[in-house]
Subunit: 159 residues, 2 copies
Amino acid sequence: MSATRPPDPALVLADPMGLALDLARAAAATGEVPVGAVITDAGGRPLAACANRTETDHDPTAHAEILAIRAACARRGDARLPDCTLWVTLEPCPMCASAIVHARLARVIFGAYDPKGGAVDHGVRLFAHPGCLHRPEVIGGMAESAAATLLRGFFQALR
Amino acid sequence: MSATRPPDPALVLADPMGLALDLARAAAATGEVPVGAVITDAGGRPLAACANRTETDHDPTAHAEILAIRAACARRGDARLPDCTLWVTLEPCPMCASAIVHARLARVIFGAYDPKGGAVDHGVRLFAHPGCLHRPEVIGGMAESAAATLLRGFFQALR
């Protein structure tokens, strides 16, 4: 499944994080920081599957999560996704964590922890802030080793 | 100037915040929360002028600032805007403040303060966080009264 082709909505994904990792790997091959994201509905059907495209699109907001939220909302015709789960290979940054709040996503499942750029278990810990208007369920560290190895390999190859 | 037509790059804007307020007013007329944003380059020339489109586009990320950053970066073919100023009628939320960091904007000038949703002088105070990778110059409260009156009128009309 490519990052640009919308996933088949009749499909129930057995392994959304595996798909997100595949998208991240494909992004690395095009010079993008390897991060992938998938959004599934309450029935486990995929609504969006995207990888980071900041370099390709010259767009600092084109993180995998933002692209997936925009794609899922466009598909639904609704700016909110209260029944949905976001699967992402890296802990979301403040931009993406705040977009998750705006979209009212039910659940966020992420792979590698990001002590420098993350905003869920690190940094501003957005969902834990008293002023946060919506708190998704969060599971961190799923397939952490695969996601972290992918990112480490990408940045080592750059040096 | 409409929210969709790109501004004339030969023009030096005498009053970018006035243009942002005009865009916010036009957005209110279409049922959008009235927030407008303009990005100018080092010479004061406009690169982007956008209003909030979250309802119209069913896109929770379509805040005026995000749309303006995306438009200015697309115009430049560059994911960073280190010589540019963002003028916005409302204090940016965490999503937009983080996008401002990712875009490396030099300066942010905002209108009304937002004690509930803001992330510059309120909430997570993103730019003041020790882990923040880029700190733009910030001026808050420019044309505050006009921006706040516009927002108050919009929400009062909704009730």
